[in-house]
Assembly symmetry: C2
Homo-oligomer: 125 residues x 2
DNA sequence: TTTGTGCATTCCTTGACCGGCATATAACCA
DNA sequence: TGGTTATATGCCGGTCAAGGAATGCACAAA
C-alpha cells in the first residue's frame, strides 16, 4: 500500500467514481459495474487495484463479494497535501489583507468561495 | 485545468517530487532537472504537464524560465478529499469512544494522532 | 555577427495500462 | 450431479505516457 499505489489507484477516473460510489454504502461487484457503466471484468480489475492500495475491503456474502470503502489511506494523501494547503491558506490570507487595505469600489468583485479547510488564522469574511 | 489533469499530473512520482521541490522556492528548469535526476527535456515535459494542470507558473528571467508553485488547484483535491476525511474522522472518533469505554490496561497504546485538518462542520448526514 | 546557454519540441522506442472476450473458480440450488 | 450466479483471471489488441537523443529557438555575451 505504498504512496505510489494510492496515487495510481486514484489517478483513474473510473476508480475515483467507484470510490465515490462506495462512499454511499458497500456494494457487490456487479452493482458497481452497473453503476459505473463498466463490464464485470473491468470493474473487478479496478477493484483489485483499489484493494491493493488499501482503499477498499472485501467481505464475502454467499457468492457475492461486497466491497466497502476504507478511508484510512486517504489520510496519507491528506498529509501530503498539508504543506500546500498551508501555502494556499497563506496566500488567501494575504489576498484578504490586500483587499482590506483597498477601497471597496476598486476591488475585484470576486470573493473567497470557501476552501474546504478553514484557514489557520482568522480570515476576513 | 480539469480535475482529471490535476490527478494525472500528481500521479507521477517525478512530478510530485518537482512540486515538493518547488514548495521550497521557485527554480529554473535546469535546477529542477538536476535536483530530481531528470534530463532537461524530461524535466521540461513534466513541467509542461504541471503547468497545464495549473500547478506551476512560469516567469521569464533573461534566458531562464523560473517555475513557481501555484497551490490553488490543490484546493480542488482537498475538496474531493473532504467526504473521505469526514468518514475517516468519524471512524477515529468511534474508535476513541470505544477506547474510552475500555479499561485502560486493555487498550492498545495508540491514540488519535490528529488528522491534518479539523472537520469543518458537523457532518450533515 | 558569432558563439554559448537555457529551454522547448519532435521523433522514436518501450513499457504500462485499459477494455473486451473467453474462461476458470467458487458458492448456491434443483 | 449438473446448472446457475457472482466474481476473478488470462490473453489480446489498442492507446497512451515516459524517457532518450537530436534539434529548434530565444536570448545574452563577446
Amino acid at each position: 500500500m505504498s504512496d505510489a499505489a494510492l496515487w495510481t489507484a486514484l489517478a483513474d477516473p473510473h476508480r475515483r467514481a467507484i470510490v465515490t460510489l462506495l462512499l454511499e454504502r458497500p456494494r457487490p461487484v456487479g452493482e458497481i459495474a452497473d453503476a459505473c457503466g463498466l463490464s464485470q471484468p473491468s470493474a473487478s480489475k479496478h477493484l483489485k487495484v483499489l484493494r491493493e492500495a488499501g482503499l477498499v475491503r472485501v467481505s464475502q456474502e454467499a457468492q457475492r463479494r461486497v466491497h466497502a470503502l476504507d478511508p484510512a489511506p486517504i489520510a496519507a494523501l491528506d498529509a501530503w497535501l498539508e504543506p500546500y494547503r498551508r501555502l494556499w491558506n497563506r496566500s488567501l490570507d494575504a489576498l484578504g489583507r490586500r483587499l482590506d487595505e483597498t477601497p471597496a469600489d476598486t476591488r475585484p468583485p470576486q470573493r473567497r468561495t470557501g476552501p474546504p479547510c478553514p484557514p489557520t488564522s482568522p480570515a476576513p469574511t
